[in-house]
Amino acid sequence: MTFRTILSFLLVLMLVFGAVSIAQEAAPMDAEAAAADANMLATVAGESRDQFRSLDGEVQDLKKEVLDLNRDLFLLEEELLFPANSQVAFFISMDVGEYFALDSVSLKIDGKEVANYLYTDREIDALLQGGVHRVHMANLKTGDHELIAIFTGKGPHTREYRRGATVTINKGIGAKYLELEITDRVKKQQPEFVIKEWE
């Protein structure tokens, strides 16, 4: 072998090794670039998810605010129409209902009819299950007022039954709440109407 041949062989070997090393360097670079792209996409996706979450959160907060505002407006309206210092509220409740099937309630304050409510079967069921019905709300001046509550329904032996209860309300400063309770008096087998004042 001549010197020239050996030199040419060596040159070819060097070229081959050089190409291999360049290729090896290029591969990681492509992988890095791909990894970088993937990272960027993941970051963008993550940011979008975060943005959606924050938007969703904001929407939920807004909804809650609207509901709170609606509730506050309702309470303010009630306060305006029925200020606490002159407010009087009347509630109906029922206990047992064996001797009296309620049909309607009529309320008169100082001789003037202020409420006349007919009860449906569904409403009576609700009362029997412990529900309390706000039958009337009024504004009354301080002083004495006469309340007459007339209950109409079916009494013992399914006879038509009409019973009244009268009470004098002493209206002071501050709201007043009166409960008109219908209870069954087992001893007399008659319904009893009790007017109670809530403290």
């Binding site: 049909d103 309607s104 409510y117 007919l118 009860y119 449906t120 079967d121 569904r122 409403e123």
Partner: protein, 165 residues
């Protein structure tokens, strides 16, 4: 001449106001009420929420009401099982006469008695009969004053449209 014009203007205003009052209810929540029915139980409009409800105001002295009621009964029988309710509201002072007429006509829908005219005032009933259609959400959608043969076709279309909503 001036007085005539003034009177004409007043008459027009009254008519416009009364028609406005009736049309005011359209699109508004139907005023709630409870009345005693012909079967003895109390019925409340709001308990029918979810159904398409027709409220028909009638009286025993009203001839078109007699014509209309059997046709309304047919509508009731046909569509009751798919969410249609019909409440007849009688405004006679004497509910006994209304009961007689109900038996005579053989209607099956609930009839309520408004002898004190409280509900008819709520609905601004100024003609006979008056038919009000309330949608499932409880809003007044159609109001018809009076009855002429053929109106039942219009009712049918409107009921079907509301049932489809």
């Amino acid at each position: 001449m001036k007085i005539r014009k003034l009177l004409a203007g007043l008459a027009l205003t009254v008519l416009a106001t009364s028609s406005l009052a009736a049309s005011d209810l359209a699109g508004q929540p139907a005023p709630d009420f409870a009345l005693k029915s012909s079967t003895g139980e109390n019925l409340r409009l709001s308990e029918y929420r979810g159904d398409v409800v027709m409220i028909n105001f009638w009286a025993t002295w009203c001839g078109p009401c007699r014509q209309e009621m059997p046709l309304l009964d047919q509508l009731y029988s046909r569509y009751q099982r798919v969410g249609f309710s019909l409440l007849g509201v009688n405004i006679d002072d004497d509910s006994g006469r209304a009961m007689d007429m109900i038996r005579e006509l053989g209607v099956s829908f609930p009839v309520l008695f408004d002898s004190r005219k409280v509900v008819s005032k709520l609905y601004d009933v100024d003609a006979m009969p008056v038919t009000v259609l309330v949608d499932r959400e409880g809003n007044v959608r159609h109001i018809h004053k009076g009855y002429k043969p053929g109106y039942e076709e219009m009712y049918l279309d409107q009921i079907r449209s509301l049932l489809r909503e």
